[in-house]
């Protein structure tokens, strides 16, 4: 079982003074999986990833990466890390940063040069390879950081908010690279609070809030599972008072006014049948009818709010 798992986390706990940053968190990440770790700011995402990458240690629990304890030299050798802050050496060139990383991972010089050339080409920094990093924009620095993490050809890649604050071009480039890496069979652990990114890229996602894991599943299942209330969007030929629609069976809440309204319900099929009846009885033709699936963002907000209210 364990050898199918790239990362195993059991009861991981970390305090900063009296503040519980990570509270008995447990999860597994499969080999070759792109695993998303979502949460609002201060939820414990970065602390978790820093424990897994050996930057800090947990007080309780166990974390294993590729069969070795998180933070061990063996684990670090097999991992690549893209931290939230672009932390290349700004007084060195992009090329020298890559060569330094290659030396720290003991990659042979000829192989390091080949990989560095290919990576810089891929992220569009080859022409700037001899420029000092201090002259780079944030997007260029983040792309370089990705290259630094990949020069050792790691088995597991940890990325902490890799596209945060980036322009569309850099974001697309990084997402494209992540997709390619997943197809090549790398295990990727991605922390983000960008729901579109998680929904688009991740095989599974875990949601953490106030240090506790609140959900873990595929983005699709989380969307459906968290959607206790579905939204039916309906438009009639003439405006209908929201109070009238609120009287229909199964309606939880009505939003909007005029010709098009959003109706929240636990039973979308029953509501649609009621709306069809309503339309027929009042001789009021429908011009639009959509059942909206909850987005991952809605699932995220619902799950994180639930935990917030529980506290």
């Amino acid at each position: 079982m364990e050898n199918k798992l790239a990362i195993t986390v059991e009861d991981l706990t970390k305090h900063y003074g009296n503040f519980v940053a990570v509270d008995h968190v447990s999860f597994n990440v499969n080999n070759c999986e792109l695993f998303g770790f979502l949460g609002p700011n201060g939820a414990g995402k970065t602390t978790t990833v820093r424990i897994l990458t050996g930057v800090i240690t947990a007080e309780e629990g166990r974390a294993v990466v590729m069969g070795f304890p998180a933070g061990s030299l063996q684990t670090k050798q097999l991992s690549g890390v893209v931290p939230e802050q672009a932390n290349a050496y700004i007084d060195l060139s992009a090329w020298d940063n890559l060569m330094l990383m290659a030396e720290l991972y003991r990659v042979r010089a000829s192989e390091a040069k080949r990989r560095a050339e290919a990576l810089l080409q891929e992220v569009g920094l080859h022409e700037k390879r001899n420029h000092l990093v201090k002259t780079f924009s944030l997007g260029m620095r983040k792309r370089l950081i990705l290259c630094l993490a990949l020069v050792s050809e790691p088995h597991v890649l940890f990325l902490d908010e890799p596209t945060s604050g980036l322009d569309v071009q850099s974001t697309r480039l990084i997402r494209g690279t992540l997709r390619k890496l997943r197809n090549e069979g790398k295990t990727i652990f991605l922390t983000t609070h960008n729901m579109d990114e998680a929904s688009e890229l991740c095989d599974r996602v875990a949601i953490i809030n106030h240090g506790k894991l609140v959900a873990i599943d595929t983005p699709e299942r989380l969307r459906i599972g968290a959607g206790r209330f579905h939204v039916v969007e309906i438009g009639f030929e003439k405006p209908v008072a929201t109070e009238t629609l609120s009287q229909l069976p199964g309606v939880d809440k009505v939003e909007g006014a005029g010709n098009k309204v959003k109706i929240y319900t636990e039973n979308p099929c029953g509501l649609v049948a009621s709306l069809v009846d309503f339309s027929r009885v009042h001789s009021l033709p429908m011009v639009a009818l959509n059942i909206l699936t909850p987005s991952l963002e809605e699932a995220f907000v619902r799950l994180t709010e639930e935990v917030g209210h529980d506290r």
């Binding site: 820093r50 990458t53 050996g54 930057v55 800090i56 240690t57 030299l73 063996q74 670090k76 050798q77 991992s79 890390v81 931290p83 802050q85 932390n87 290349a88 050496y89 700004i90 007084d91 060195l92 020298d96 330094l100 990383m101 030396e103 720290l104 991972y105 003991r106 630094l148």
Partner: protein
Amino acid sequence: MIDSSVALDQVRRSLAIAKKDLRIYYAKGPVVIFGILMPAFLFLAFSIGRQMPVNSLIPGLLGMAVFFTATAVSPVVVPWETQARTLERLASCPVAVWTILLGDMFASVIFGIVISFVPILVGFMTGASIHHPFILAIGIILAALCFSSMALIFSFPATSLPSTIMMLSSLIKFPLVFVSGIFMPVGELPAWGKVIASLSPLTYFTEVARYCIGGTNRYPLYLSLLLLLMFTIFFWEAAVTLHKRTLPRRL
């Protein structure tokens, strides 16, 4: 107990860190000022106008040069890297805490050794004679190792402000210069001065230099070399222990 092959592998990785330090930090203003210019001016202020024999001046100048250059950068690399968040990058690489420190130490040692050629050259030009060049070379290497490992201890407080560490290290370094036989041979110090001098590692290097250049040493050569080695081991062990404790607070 660390496996010897793992240890050797880590030593190789530390060379990459040393190379990086040499490329980035040795041209930084504070390093040049505190490592070269200030001690040079201090020495000139003391020696100009005095009728001191060259064989007495050069060992002191050599001691100053090796001491200040070997302690110039190793205390500030860690706070500098904490500030730039590059320490976090190193911490996520497959290197141990001692590997990072060893890299910083190697860089300081190389800097100290290279700069030691300046006073030796000055000595040659002013007529000083080196009677035991091989022993002097061993002494310089040992002293550079000793002083740079001592300087690593200065940087253990978990701060990201290099200026704080520079101030702290200057507070310790400058008084040491005056009690270590740099400006005046240990034999000429008052009794209390001799006691304090015996606690300073710089004294033992100055003694080695005096033996090799002027032949006016007070302590036996073997004792000076042995004590330099023992200070190095003590400082290194202390630095690793202290940094292991404070590193997590920096990240």
